[in-house]
């Protein structure tokens, strides 16, 4: 049969056009097969759990580090004034010399990551309750973790930056919270306490060996909040009693390690005296804690960098009482070590933090997965002792707690002190036991006292020079609001002096 192709040419063309136009009818919706979007998330309990895990991930913010030796956990200690930083970081040097400013990226790092965690916590708190087929008890426990985490980040923000925006609901592009004003410090603390009470009532377990939030962590943090609010700037002294009462159950839930080594090894994570840590694992998440704290460019481990960014001053190490086990070589500090390269002994000429030396990574791949400890038993014990003392003077129970720490350090127990003497003794113990664990600067904020190691006394930081010849500028009680935030949100004001 002869078919006249030419005759139907218009027909073919129309057919092609029709096929095309009909194929175009497919909508232009964007589909990402690799990730959820908010509108199709929060439908199962597993998704809820996963989202909460995502908030924990922001705990890593304190260990964000760079090859210059800058990291929030170091910045916090440099503010306290008992560490030097070798390395080549100009920002670290400026913090030590107290000539830093609001553009120092470390200030923004803590701010933005904390608010990111809070934002995700707000999203979780708004969306998880509506998930169907999710047992109420389990849901409540999960939300308890979220409340704790929101409080944890706000607690850091309010101490570091003072009055901060208080946002408790998810922010969208159209919400008024997109450009918030600063809330009063007391309002932020009210929210923190309310969140921690919600966490306390969520039915979570006393302890948790996997690294999740436990009741012990909630209580310790709340006790710390009470202790802090009893001091500057709020000075709600009634909270001392609340602190002591809150932390009491924790003291029996945890036990001190026999060896300080267990504080920084892989075998004892989230156990014994460790109440709350951020968790690491080689292959999943690693940190630069050892690289940042080993002596500058001396090859004591398999690390690519040896940054020496947080080196205790000799004066601080010398401030421990004679015979303190913690000052013995390779307890909290070390001053020599076999070279990783050839085994010859390297003499540092200074004290580095053995507390953060991670044998597993130093001897192997150089990739550190040591955990970072936020809360551990000695802090709970010292909160109890200090708070009790403020309420009722040095009680036996208070002596017992501090003496457990001293006994482990091979020091004579304390006894027969006045309330003032006991307070000073507890403060010193906090400095010595919790050294370089990011507690000292917060202690200076709430007590307005600095440890003057050369004279082994406490003094007003703004009139007393540190061993590094630095006199604290009053503005340094707070960090500046990051310049970027001031520039982006006209409702924000800068802290005095910055």
């Amino acid at each position: 049969m002869k078919f006249n192709l030419k005759k139907y040419r218009i027909g073919y063309s129309l057919l092609i056009l029709t096929i095309m136009v009909s194929s175009c009818k497919k909508d232009l919706v964007e589909k990402d097969k690799g990730n959820f979007v908010k509108s199709n998330y929060f439908t199962t309990s597993t998704q809820a759990r996963t989202f909460v895990n995502g908030i924990y991930q922001k705990l890593y913010l304190f260990q964000n580090g760079d090859a210059y030796g800058e990291s929030p956990f170091i910045t916090l200690e440099l503010f306290a004034g008992h560490a030097t930083s070798l390395g080549q970081s100009v920002n670290n040097g400026n913090v030590i010399k107290q000539i830093t400013d609001a553009v120092n990226p470390g200030f923004e790092d803590v701010w933005s990551n904390s608010y990111n965690a809070i934002s995700n916590a707000n999203i979780a708190l708004a969306n998880i309750p509506g998930i169907a087929n999710f047992a109420d008890a389990d849901k409540k426990k999960l939300l308890g973790e979220v409340y704790f985490l929101r409080a944890f980040f706000y607690y850091h923000l309010v101490r570091l930056y003072g009055d901060v925006p208080l946002i408790t609901a998810p922010v969208t592009i159209t919400s008024p919270d997109l450009y918030p004003s600063r809330a009063a410090t007391s309002a932020v603390y009210d929210q923190i306490i309310s969140d921690l009470k919600a966490a306390e009532a969520s039915g979570m377990a006393e302890t948790d060996a996997t690294g999740k939030v436990s009741l012990g962590a909630v209580r310790t943090l709340l006790a710390s909040v009470y202790l802090t609010t009893a001091g500057y700037p709020l000075q709600k002294t009634a909270n001392y009693a609340l602190a002591a009462q809150e932390v009491l159950p924790v003291l029996s839930d945890y036990t001190l390690f026999d060896k300080y080594d267990y504080l920084h090894d892989n075998a004892h994570k989230n156990q014994g005296e460790l109440i709350f840590q951020s968790n690491y694992l080689v292959g999943v998440a690693t940190n630069a804690i050892p690289q940042l704290t080993v002596p500058f460019n001396l090859l004591v481990g398999a690390y690519g960098d040896h940054l020496g960014a947080m080196i205790p001053t000799n004066e601080f190490v010398a401030s421990y009482e004679a015979g303190d086990l913690r000052t013995v070589e390779r307890q909290f500090y070390f001053s020599s070590y076999p070279s990783y390269k050839d085994g010859s002994t390297i003499i540092f000429g200074e004290h580095a933090l053995y507390k953060y030396f991670h044998l597993e990574s130093a001897a192997a791949s150089g990739q550190s997965d040591e955990n970072w400890t936020f809360l551990r038993l000695p802090e709970a014990q010292l909160i109890y002792a200090e708070a009790t003392n403020e309420v009722s003077g040095p009680t036996q129970a208070a002596y017992d707690q501090v003496n457990k720490i001293r006994t482990r350090a091979k020091l004579a127990p304390l006894s027969g002190l006045t309330k003032d003497q006991f307070r000073i003794a507890i403060w010193k113990e906090r400095y010595h036991e919790l050294a370089y664990e990011d507690k000292a600067y917060f202690d200076m904020q709430r007590t307005h006292m600095a440890y003057v190691v050369n004279s082994n006394t406490f003094g007003d930081p703004t009139t007393t020079k540190t061993e590094q010849n630095i006199q604290f500028k009053p503005q340094y009680y707070l960090w500046p609001i990051p310049q970027r935030e001031i520039s982006t949100n006209s409702k924000l004001t800068q802290n005095t002096g910055w």
């Binding site: 194929s23 924990y56 918030p180 968790n279 999943v284 690519g304």
Partner: protein
């Protein structure tokens, strides 16, 4: 006399002819056909004069039908050679007159045989034409002189001198005005253009062979700025057409190859495959590409088969490259001297620590004593002094071969194009290899149906040596590796920087080049086919389907010999990442051509297009390989596996477009276009956008008062306006995305999710409105051609990644906010300075002036800083300034000994840098920062000259650029600090009590504190003049090579990057090492791959 009506360099044009002529002369009919088809005629005036008037009435018939009809009763016949139609008397001219001898020969040009060339005996009317193989035979008197003439070529006279074979090579004449250019969805004669379109032909592209198209385009066109930012094989090129029309959105131009959008980048197109490149610059030209047109469109037309007997061509070159410039750094002795001085200066900068003996253990003398025998002799003198720049680079030998086979009949043609390129980098072991095969085919199946297809396969294998910016990479170590540590010790182990205490980690660059294998393997398969149906006279339907798939396989392996402070297996690692892309485009359009009342010509295009892109990717990695043997071939052999990853990415677009060209008497030209685009990339509320444009041109030279002007041979004025869009923000930007992260519970991985973007359902394209005014002027029979354009480009509703208060939990959001302006002038002048039979001299000059300004940013016009943010945020976007301004501190010099008290106000000592206290508040804070420069040039251009003496040609190509600054961040680690790594030799001029007039601070170890920030001392002048290429070529005379059956043979020698005149102190002022990190990275560098100087020997052969 033989006349050429016009010189049409045709590529594609309508095949359909409509004629309504009564009592018309033959010439008039031929002109009319020529206008419609793009074919051109040559004929002998005497022959035509014998013809009578023609009456013809045909519509939409083929060319052949029209000609048959026209010459039906005439004493004329015709023959079609490619796009040339030769009209002659029906009786054979060659046999008309008896003659003395019979001669024969071949006429060719640089590309091969030329058919249809008129061969005439001077002083007579006798002559003939060459056949399809370029051959002719003719009986002539022995003392005759032959005149060879052909449209578009310079006429040649050759004395026979008793020879029986006379071969001639024709040289092309200026033909700019008669070109046909490719525009979106069609072609136009250049004379009919209303918009601003720049074109480059294959001949120009081949003048300076490079492995990639973008590098070959450099300097060829005004308004098209090509920066080659790395000396690595294949380079790292950046093309910007008419400035920067976006801040956060991609500003790369759109590539369209043979009508299909090309998603694989200009660097994966083999330049030798290209017939022509047409660059659409103004919005009236680009608006037909709608949301993808705002950055300009580069239309690539690839070579296809040609009608005629088969041709085989072979083009190749071999080149040798060497590092063009070495930067002075400290040698071993100088390093020791600086280190000793630094150490001695500690007591000035940390008197307390010095007194306490804190630094006693860091005394360089102690360190050196401990290394006697290994690095130092008994007198503590260094044993080694390595020049790392020399040690890590080489004389790179590269080669490139292209073979093509083409041929065809009247109805069918084919082409096979093969390419092999091996481009060696000057850094050891780096290379780029490419294998490319392309097959083309076109067939006029029926009188009304034509189909064609192209298949292309491309393989590229690249080994890089400059991955990453900043850390332990090769370009940085070329400068910062210390000279007193050897490449290898006598026992064969590599020297490491950590072999000397106090030095920071970092591997010697030779070790890195040997032990790190970073491979990028790309396999691109693309095919497209078209179908052209002639529906009605003047009405054509065309359907094009194109598919491109690419597989990107990027393995990486690092042996345990590098990466750590010592050699150790734990530093070994391997990874593989892969991305598989599929793109398809289906486009259908109708074209209608019609002439009304003989004076109104219209051309209408209407069409629809669908585009779809999808990517799937995956990656896996491992660390601590149990043995280096495994490389990346067995990731399971690593003891510390990483978390695997995979991704999906897709977008779709659908579009409708139309264009009307109207032409009144060849004098007034009007173009109106519009395109409606729908894209998946935008918010649910805004998926569709409409982009119109209009342009008008006046060909003043067609007016009666200029028609016969002896000076002005062509003059046209153009004006256009258009609106284009930019949708290149990537995918999923409008959504509130939930992304995954990793945490750890109980010593095991725990997956987490976080909301990573805030979501913006109103997200839409940014819109660029562009005005263009231009003219083209041809003088003295087009021996001087001038083309000039002025444009104003305003982008509004910028797709700005606007900063958000971080209290929201998010950093930024893509929003349509802000305005940006680009304005500029472009000027191109082509002249034929000397034109004699044996000697010609042509010049080409182009210059582009550019001004970019930010008009509005966000709601409150806050500053925005783009990446990189090295040292601090300095890449400033601020209203009123050009985008990409450099922001930092001004260094006034150093504090002198006499200024101790003033220095102490700022906590500084004599010998420290003196920073300008701009606001005079007695402290240096970020409020003291000032604008230090900008990365975008004020102007750039090219001046090239071509000389031809007989068969010898010489070309010299100069490139220039001015008005921009370079942010030389390497001064941070190479000059601001000393002792931790090697430094630039400039630190020998550091402050000392006896050398106070310097802006380099006194040497001291970095660990006692030093100053480094974004300083004016890091900002350098980016002006340069480059001797980009000098070429000397020789084309063998046809009569000589025809004996060995060749139609063309040319050899040439070329030097590329011969010299650079600049004040810039780095390797090359055309530089950027942060190419991926933001749009405004030009001139920002932190250790770049050095540029080569290349000498090249090339060969072109055809038979």
């Amino acid at each position: 006399m033989v006349l050429a009506l016009t010189n049409v360099y045709a590529k594609t044009y309508s095949q359909v002819v409509t004629l309504h002529q009564k009592n018309a002369s033959v010439e008039k009919v031929l002109r009319s056909i020529e206008k419609q088809t793009g074919y051109h005629f040559m004929y002998d005036k005497q022959d035509v004069s014998k013809a009578s008037a023609i009456n013809i009435e045909v519509a939409g018939v083929s060319l052949q039908q029209a000609l048959d009809q026209a010459f039906k009763d005439q004493p004329l016949t015709y023959k079609i050679f490619q796009e040339t139609i030769v009209v002659k008397k029906k009786d054979d001219v060659a046999a008309a007159e008896p003659a003395d001898i019979k001669i024969s020969g071949t006429v060719s040009d640089t590309k091969g045989a030329l058919p249809g060339v008129s061969v005439r005996i001077k002083g007579s009317d006798l002559g003939t034409q060459t056949d399809v193989s370029g051959k002719y035979t003719l009986n002539v008197p022995a003392n005759a002189t032959l005149v060879f003439s052909f449209i578009g070529y310079n006429t040649q006279e050759v004395a026979v001198g008793g020879r029986t074979t006379v071969n001639v090579t024709m040289t092309e004449s200026q033909r700019a005005l008669s070109e046909v250019v490719v525009v979106g969805y069609g072609t136009q004669k250049r004379v009919d253009l209303t918009g601003s379109v720049g074109s480059v032909g294959s001949k120009q592209l081949q003048e300076r062979p490079q492995t990639n198209l973008e590098q070959e385009l450099a300097g060829k066109l005004a308004g098209v700025n090509v920066s080659t930012n790395s000396g690595a094989p294949g380079g790292e090129t950046k093309i910007r057409i008419r400035g920067y029309s976006s801040i956060n959105t991609n500003t790369d131009p759109l590539y369209v190859v043979d009508g299909v959008v090309w998603t694989e980048g200009g660097n994966s197109i083999n330049p030798a495959d290209i017939e022509s490149v047409d660059v659409l610059k103004d919005a009236s030209s680009t608006a037909i590409y709608g949301t993808r047109g705002a950055n300009g469109v580069i239309l690539v037309t690839t070579k296809r088969g040609k009608t005629g007997t088969g041709t085989i061509s072979y083009d190749s070159y071999v080149s040798v490259s060497n590092m063009a410039k070495e930067i002075p750094v400290l040698n071993s002795k100088e390093f020791m001297q600086v280190e000793d001085l630094s150490y001695a200066n500690i007591k000035k900068y940390d008197p307390v620590g010095w007194a306490a003996g804190n630094y006693a253990s860091r005394d360089p003398k102690l360190q050196r004593t401990a290394l006697i025998g290994k690095l130092f002799d008994q007198n503590l003198q260094p044993l080694y002094d390595v020049d790392w720049q020399k040690a890590t680079t080489r004389s790179a030998v590269s080669q490139n071969h292209n073979v093509s086979f083409t041929g065809g009949t009247d109805k069918m043609n084919y082409g096979l194009f093969l390419n092999y390129a091996d481009d060696e980098g000057i850094i050891l072991n780096s290379y780029l290899k490419r294998y490319n095969a392309r097959l083309t085919f076109d067939n006029q199946i029926k009188s009304w149906l034509k189909v064609g297809a192209t298949l292309n396969y491309n393989t590229q294998d690249q080994r890089t040596a400059d991955d990453g910016t900043g850390g332990n990479n090769i370009p940085r170590m070329l400068i910062e590796m210390v000279p007193f540590i050897p490449i290898r010790y006598p026992d064969g182990t590599y020297g490491k920087r950590t072999d000397y205490p106090n030095l920071e980690g970092g591997d010697n660059p030779v070790a890195q080049a040997n032990e790190i294998e970073a491979l990028y393997k790309k396999r691109i398969f693309s095919g497209n086919g078209y179908l052209n149906i002639n529906l009605l006279p003047g009405l054509d339907f065309r359907s094009t389907l194109g598919v491109t798939t690419s597989a990107n396989y990027n393995p990486h392996f690092q042996s345990g010999l590098v990466g750590g402070s010592t050699a150790g297996q734990q530093y070994s690692s391997a990874s593989i990442s892969e991305a598989n892309n599929t793109f398809w485009q289906w486009e259908n359009h109708l074209t209608y051509n019609k002439v009304f009342n003989k004076v109104h010509t219209i051309n209408v295009v209407l069409g629809a297009e669908q585009q779809n892109f999808q990517q799937t990717g995956f990656g896996a990695s491992t660390g601590t390989l149990s043995d280096n043997f495994y490389q990346y071939y067995n990731l399971g052999a690593g003891q510390v596996p990483g978390i695997p990853s995979s991704n999906y990415d897709a977008w779709q677009m659908r579009s409708f477009f139309g264009r009307l060209n109207y032409n009144y008497k060849e004098k007034y030209l009007l173009t109106v276009t519009g395109r409606e685009d729908g894209s998946s990339r935008f918010g649910t509320n805004v998926k569709n956008g409409f982009f119109p444009s209009a342009a008008f041109a006046w060909r003043a030279s067609q007016e009666d008062f200029l028609k016969d002007n002896k000076t002005i041979s062509d003059l046209k004025f153009r004006a256009s306006y258009g609106l284009t869009g930019n949708s290149e923000i990537g995918e999923y930007r409008s959504l509130a995305n939930i992304s995954t992260v990793n945490y750890v519970f109980g010593g095991a991985q725990a997956i987490g999710t976080q909301q990573s973007t805030i979501g913006n359902e109103n997200l839409s394209w940014e819109k660029t409105a562009e005005y263009d005014l231009g003219f083209s002027l041809g003088l003295f029979n087009n021996r001087v051609n001038i083309e000039a354009d002025a444009y104003l480009k305003k982008t509004k509703e910028l797709l700005l990644n606007a900063p958000l208060p971080e209290t929201s939990g998010f950093n930024s959001v893509y929003k349509n906010i802000g305005r940006l302006q680009n304005k500029g002038l472009e000027l191109t002048i082509n002249t034929q300075n000397v034109k004699t039979e044996n000697f010609t001299w042509n010049s080409s000059f182009n210059i582009s002036f550019l001004k970019n300004k930010i008009l509005q940013l966000g709601a409150s016009n806050d500053d925005i800083f783009l990446n990189p943010t090295f040292l601090s945020q300095f890449n400033l976007m601020r209203v009123g300034l050009p985008a990409g301004s450099f922001y930092g501190y001004k260094v006034l010099g150093t504090w002198g000994s006499a200024e101790e008290s003033q220095a102490s106000v700022y906590g500084r000592h004599p010998g420290d840098l003196k920073i300008q206290d701009t606001n005079g508040d007695g402290k240096i804070t970020s409020a003291d920062k000032v604008i230090l420069g900008k990365g975008t040039p004020d102007g750039y251009g090219t001046f090239s000259n071509t000389f031809r003496y007989k068969n010898i040609d010489l070309g010299v190509d100069l490139q220039f650029n001015y008005g921009n600054q370079i942010m030389n961040l390497t001064r941070h680690s190479g000059q601001d600090r000393t002792g931790q790594a090697n430094s630039y030799a400039t630190v020998l001029n550091a402050w000392t009590p006896t050398n106070q007039n310097t802006s380099i601070a006194e040497d001291r170890p970095a660990y006692v504190g030093y100053q480094t920030e974004i300083y004016s001392t890091k900002v350098e002048n980016g002006n340069f003049i480059r001797g980009r290429a000098a070429t000397l070529g020789y084309t063998f005379p046809t009569q000589m090579i025809s004996k060995i059956k060749l139609s063309r043979l040319r050899v040439y020698f070329q030097a590329q990057n011969l010299f650079v005149i600049t004040k810039y102190t780095g390797y090359d002022p055309e530089v950027s090492t942060y190419n991926g990190s933001s749009n405004f990275t030009q001139g920002i560098q932190f250790y770049d791959y050095p540029k080569p100087r290349t000498f090249l020997l090339g060969l072109n052969v055809s038979l």
